[in-house]
């Protein structure tokens, strides 16, 4: 059986958990994932295993989630483990995974799953930077720089082959609509009420001014979203 596989792309603190949880509701199988987390009321929807696996690959490439390397090489051993992981889902019709690091590792997954589909999410750089400051103690500027790294990569992956990208905003009605559009594009159940999305999932802060480079990328992403 040829499975349909969807990778959720997006930066930390950008709504990737909300998107993963919502797509799970729409029929996407995520496997054994985290459903409870101090930073996300409904869990990060990440596989702890995959998170560590990805982090190890970044470490092998002299990086980390907080300092992503520019080019990531998958070692032979990591490719073997990746294939073991894929094998585990071979009886699932539609499965997927979410870990913000994936955006830097997408090529390695694509190599093993040529029909791999992506879906992306982004959030205003200022809000992400504030969230990272709260969770990880990063300075605002550090958060913005990291936002640029992740989202620049997201656009790079998008340019290789287009896929739906949405913005994470604090308006549940807008999010509902966008999630339905995304689910529809991915041929998942779309006529549902995405109750993973609740007001308390969004800890919106005041938007602060950010550097030009981040705003340019943000506007590019908004442009991509408008074509959904």
């Amino acid at each position: 059986m040829r499975s349909k596989v969807i990778a959720i792309l997006g930066m930390h603190r950008s709504g990737t958990s909300m998107l993963a949880g919502s797509l799970e509701q729409a029929g996407l199988y995520l496997g054994d994932v985290n459903t409870e987390n101090v930073n996300n009321e409904k869990g990060s929807r990440e596989s702890n295993f995959l998170m560590q696996f990805h982090e190890e690959i970044l470490t092998e490439n002299r990086g980390s989630w907080a300092l992503p390397p520019y080019d990531v090489i998958w070692s032979a051993n990591k490719r073997t483990i990746r294939d073991f992981y894929i094998h585990k889902f071979r009886n699932q019709k539609v499965w997927g995974f979410k870990d913000p690091r994936t955006v830097f590792l997408a090529h390695g997954w694509k190599e093993a799953i040529p029909n791999l589909q992506y879906v992306g999410i982004f959030r205003h750089p200022s809000l992400v930077a504030q969230s990272l400051a709260k969770r990880n103690g990063f300075s605002f500027q550090q958060g913005i720089d990291l936002w640029v790294r992740y989202n620049r990569k997201l656009i790079e992956v998008f340019k290789l082959k287009r896929f739906p990208i949405i913005e994470f905003v604090d308006d549940t009605t807008t999010m509902q609509k966008q999630l339905q559009k995304v689910a529809d594009k991915l041929e998942l159940k779309s006529d549902i009420n995405f109750d993973f999305l609740e007001d308390n999932l969004i800890h919106q802060k005041e938007i602060q001014e950010v550097k030009w480079e981040a705003m340019k990328l943000y506007n590019q992403l908004k442009m991509i979203e408008s074509r959904l």
Partner: protein
């Protein structure tokens, strides 16, 4: 143990249709090498300085289970790694129905090999030989399983393998294997230390018997 005949035994098992992975399990074997080395290192040891106590972290347990589940569509599969005997209890926790098969060779052959390959002094080789083979013996004493001696005579090895596979309940017969040059290492004429000699005698008592046809 390393250079103890494991590759040969794996070849015999493969010839009896035991699956070790694609391309004779090259990828799986590389994975096991890195996986077991990492466990030994994380516990402060290595293959030649085995740690006494071993623990797997959550990620390593998940890796082990992922490896096991990669064979879940195979009826009869196996795995081989030089360090398996050191971490067997960690494997058994995830593989309760595994049937072991063991192999050992004369300690003085190992002395010759380890001296030329790793420049190990005799004392260290004996120590390692005892450590690894005592582990195998205590596993056997808990629940017997076929153990083969790697002897220099091809016919004796092949006949032992046939008997061992019968004991394992394998449906297919192994093909006769040509012993590679490395497995015919010179037997140093050296008096073994008492503990080595005692353990060697004991292993010979329990090994799969070869009934001479001549």
């Amino acid at each position: 143990m390393k250079n103890g005949g494991l590759n040969l035994l794996k070849k015999s098992l493969e010839s009896a249709n035991v699956y070790f992975g694609k391309d004779e399990g090259t990828r799986e074997s590389e994975f096991l090498k890195e996986f077991s080395n990492q466990i030994l290192a994380d516990n402060g040891g290595s293959w030649h300085s085995p740690p006494y106590k071993l623990k797997l972290n959550l990620y390593q347990r998940q890796l082990r289970d992922l490896f096991i589940s990669s064979f879940d569509d195979k009826e009869c599969w196996g795995f081989k790694n030089d360090n398996t005997i050191l971490i067997m209890n960690l494997w058994q926790a995830g593989l309760s129905n595994a049937t072991p098969i063991g192999i050992f060779r004369h300690p003085n052959q190992l002395v010759t090999i380890y001296k030329s390959k790793y420049n190990f002094p005799v004392k260290l080789t004996y120590k390692l030989w005892v450590y690894y083979n005592r582990k195998m013996l205590s596993m056997y004493e808990e629940k017997p399983f076929p153990i083969i001696e790697l002897e220099n005579k091809r016919s004796r090895y092949n006949r032992a393998v046939v008997n061992a596979f019968k004991e394992l309940g394998l449906e297919n017969q192994p093909k006769n294997i040509q012993l590679p040059r490395g497995s015919r290492a010179q037997l140093e004429r050296r008096e073994m230390t008492k503990d080595v000699a005692r353990l060697y005698r004991r292993l010979r008592q329990i090994k799969v018997k070869v009934i001479t046809e001549e």
